[in-house]
């Protein structure tokens, strides 16, 4: 008679999956780049276009690469958090200004403050694609060997900063 209970068992398993599914975000796509070397690029700096910047310059340091844009709404939300972080001087933050206009970007930094050691301009979004960016803001934690160790999708908040990003940075710096 076991076969008559089978549909019920299948359904219970399904219901458990559906329940778990309710607490998942189907739109958040984890990055396959975590654990891989940060893709190389050379881009002009936002403030001094004559000077190029490349992730290779950062070898030997733990750093954050924050993807932002003046048109991005949730960047506004994360901006004060980044300002606070840069004041505490724990880890250098570098900005990737994604698909932005030079003037808008400069105005944004003038108004809200500039938490970045420097920003580079990715006007056409090509470096963004190389880094698998799909929603701004995104933040990468990159270790001394230039390997991406973590990707924060969406704004950096005081919570995910203290719970995830800073402990990881401390751990990586100690290595």
């Amino acid at each position: 008679m076991m076969r008559f209970i089978l549909p019920f068992v299948v359904f219970v398993v399904l219901a458990v999956f559906l329940f778990v599914g309710l607490n998942l975000n189907p739109r958040e796509v984890p990055s396959p780049l975590v654990g891989k070397p940060a893709p190389a690029f050379t881009l002009p700096q936002l403030h001094e276009p004559a000077k190029p910047f490349s992730p290779a310059d950062m070898k030997g340091q733990v750093w954050l690469l924050n993807v932002w844009a003046s048109w991005c709404v949730s960047c506004k939300e994360e901006h004060p958090v980044l300002m606070e972080l840069s004041r505490r001087n724990i880890v250098p933050i570098y900005g990737l200004d994604y698909k932005d206009k030079q003037a808008d970007a400069e105005l944004w930094l003038k108004r809200g403050g500039d938490p970045y050691v420097l920003s580079v301009a990715d006007a056409e979004g090509r470096i963004g694609i190389d880094y698998g960016v799909y929603g701004v803001p995104e933040t990468y934690v990159i270790d001394k060997q230039g390997v991406i160790q973590y990707k924060q999708i969406g704004p950096v908040t005081p919570q995910n900063l203290t719970e995830k990003i800073l402990p990881l940075v401390a751990e990586l710096q100690a290595k």
Partner: protein, 661 residues
């Protein structure tokens, strides 16, 4: 005031549904005629009060009452009246109300057309439907009340999504919901039969017409949705294997299986537990669709705004309804008898093989739709399952299915003489094969897939022809023989022909469509597929709640003007959303489809224009229409109209039954 009346009517409706869900079922268990007798009046009362609620919401929309939150979110004073009415079901809350109202319509219909059924059966069926209504009404009142006020009232509404401002969307949801909800009748009959322990051919006979009606609505609802996507989304696709489409397709597949297995159960009193399970599963998948669309667990183009609280509520409701039904099944099904005898090769066994294929097809759609969720829940990462997967899995399953569809109606009940059947169909198959191999040559390009598709379609057509010939040819009067066949026979053959027509449409449009994406200056011509498209420019036009750029394209063939098309690019005032309104010249042999892209910057009125030539594309929906008409014919059969208690009782005493070993 009116919204409060609506809210009150909902609460009364809930109370009536609850009473309907309890008293008659208790009455049936205790054999209490008074308690069973309240079922019909309660069903009528529930219908009246939910009708009042729906009327109140519709009134709030038509009267632009923006103090009702739901109205403020989904309407606007500029919105034309017909779309204000259809905006009632343009969002989550209102569409739930429509769901509940349609459920009360079905409940009332069962109450009215069940005079020939035993009282306790009616009581149980209506009671189960009442319990389902309780779930939906509670859901609405607790998490998604369409009558919630917005204070202070909004000055104007946020407008209905422009995509939904379309005649197709006025009727698509009610049709589809009639189908979804209609499966609740077959479900209620199944549960009633399990509760009563009375599981015989009469049960199948009673639920069969209801299932067919629901299936007809569902077929039309899905077809309308597909047709809408075709002309409204601006790039000529008609099916995307999106989770929400799949959510309607799965119950359709199981409903189709159910119609066929009910035939075996009615005829041979066999495979009853399977048929009951199928009835439960078809409605369960309807409910699951509701969950998928409204909980946000899957990403879809047309899901409603997601809310985890709603997700939890529907999931709980699902677990109760489906879980209890399946437990009841596990408890009662082992006692169901085996039924009458038939051979492993017979029309019965062919119908059951069809069931296996349809159920596996539904399961594969299910696996594909939910696989991303499974993977994510197991921490295996994110993945997407889209059209390439479904086409790779679904099409191979449909090939044997269609081959059997041709054989089934030709096969005898109880026992098939295989060599004899093979001999009968050999000519039909040969003819189909010949046409399938040669016809593509006349269309300019031969390909395996086109030939295969045509083989399947012409195999159905040939077998239907053969069946008609065998039944109608003879020495006596042709007209008499024509009348001598039952309507359900004609219905079946018409529905099968519909599948053939559908396959022809799909095959030819996939094999021979042309698409051009061009830049057209005013006066430019495009020569493609034997037609000449001349672009006469775009003029601005003012709509009721939008501004449109209206293009003018003249199409001619061999120097003669075929038609003039006016594709539009609209910008809606409130939402600012751009919309592409394709212009289509529909025809029996194919559509000419023109849609406007974007204006080309720094040009003298040039636009990006997309031109499609879609041969036989309308056959896709014509096929669905034929399937539905087949269903309508089948339920018009007199054996469903002349029912009286006597014949129903006579049938339960069939001598060949319940001979279990």
């Amino acid at each position: 005031m009116i919204p409060e009346i609506g809210n009150f009517a909902l609460i009364v409706g809930l109370f009536l549904a609850f009473t309907l869900g309890v008293l008659p079922i208790v009455g049936a268990a205790r054999n209490n005629a008074v308690l069973m007798g309240v079922a019909r009046p309660l069903a009528a009362g529930q219908f009246v009060f939910l009708g009042i609620a729906l009327g109140c919401l519709t009134y709030a929309f038509v009267a632009n009452d923006f103090s009702v939150l739901y109205v403020a979110q989904h309407s606007n004073s500029q919105l034309p009246t017909v779309y204000r009415v259809s905006a009632v079901w343009g969002g989550h809350e209102g569409s739930l109300l429509l769901w509940a109202f349609l459920l009360s319509v079905w409940t009332l219909a069962v109450a009215m057309y069940s005079k020939h059924l035993p009282e306790e059966m009616v009581a149980r069926v209506l009671g189960v439907m009442g319990l389902i209504a309780v779930g939906f009404l509670l859901f609405m009142l607790m998490t998604s009340n369409p009558f919630d006020r917005l204070l202070p009232a909004a000055a104007d509404g946020r407008d209905l999504n422009p995509l939904l401002q379309d005649p197709g969307l006025v009727i698509h949801p009610p049709m589809l919901y009639m189908g979804y909800v209609g499966f609740s009748v077959a479900f209620a009959f199944a549960i009633a039969a399990l509760l009563g322990g009375r599981m015989d051919a009469t049960w199948a006979r009673w639920s069969r017409p209801w299932t067919t009606v629901a299936w007809v609505f569902m077929t039309m609802g899905i077809a309308l949705g597909s047709w809408w996507a075709y002309y409204e989304l601006g790039w000529g696709g008609w099916w995307f294997w999106d989770p929400v489409e799949n959510a309607s397709f799965m119950p359709w597949l199981l409903g189709t299986a159910l119609i066929h297995s009910l035939a075996v159960t009615e005829k041979r009193n066999a495979f009853k537990s399977w048929t009951v399970l199928l009835a439960i599963a078809a409605f369960s998948l309807s409910l699951l669709g509701t969950f998928l669309v409204r909980s946000g667990v899957l990403t879809s183009v047309h899901s409603f705004a997601a809310d985890p609280k709603r997700g939890i509520f529907i999931l709980t409701f699902l677990v109760i309804v489906i879980g209890v039904s399946l437990l009841l099944f596990a408890w009662r099904a082992p006692k169901i008898g085996l039924g009458g005898k038939f051979d492993p090769l017979s029309r019965e066994s062919l119908l059951l093989s069809n069931n296996v294929l349809l159920s596996v097809a539904a399961a594969s759609v299910f696996i594909g739709t939910l696989y991303p969720l499974f993977m994510d829940a197991l921490g295996q990462g994110k993945l997407s399952v889209g059209p390439p997967y479904f086409e790779a899995v679904f099409v191979p399953l449909m090939i044997p299915m269609v081959l059997m569809m041709g054989l089934g109606p030709l096969a005898r009940w109880k026992k098939v003489d295989a060599p004899e059947l093979a001999k009968r169909v050999s000519w039909a198959f040969g003819a189909a094969l010949l046409i399938a191999l040669l016809l593509p040559l006349t269309m300019g390009k031969w390909s395996v897939m086109v030939s295969l598709g045509l083989l399947l379609a012409f195999w159905i057509i040939a077998s239907v022809t053969l069946s008609l010939r065998e039944r109608l040819a003879g020495r006596d009067d042709f007209m008499q023989r024509l009348r001598g066949q039952s309507l359900s026979y004609y219905g079946m053959q018409l529905a099968h022909l519909g599948v053939a027509v559908f396959i022809i449409g799909v095959t030819l449009v996939k094999g021979y469509e042309t698409e051009r994406d061009v830049r057209m200056d005013v006066g430019d011509v495009l020569n493609t597929g034997g037609y000449e498209f001349r672009f006469n420019g775009v003029t601005e036009e003012q709509g009721p709640n939008y501004v449109a750029g209206k293009g003018h394209v003249t199409i001619s063939k061999d120097g003669k003007v075929v038609t003039e098309l006016y594709p539009e690019k609209r910008q809606y005032n409130v939402s600012g959303m751009p919309m592409t309104e394709a212009a289509i010249d529909a025809g029996l042999l194919g559509d000419l489809y023109v849609s406007l892209g974007e204006p080309i910057p720094d040009s003298d009125g040039a636009w990006a224009v997309r031109v499609y030539i879609k041969p036989f594309v309308d056959w896709i929906w014509a096929g669905c229409l034929l399937m539905s008409l087949g269903g309508v014919l089948a339920i018009s059969d007199r054996r469903y109209r002349i029912h009286n208690k006597r014949s129903a009782e006579a049938k339960t005493e069939m001598p060949l039954e319940e001979k279990t070993a």
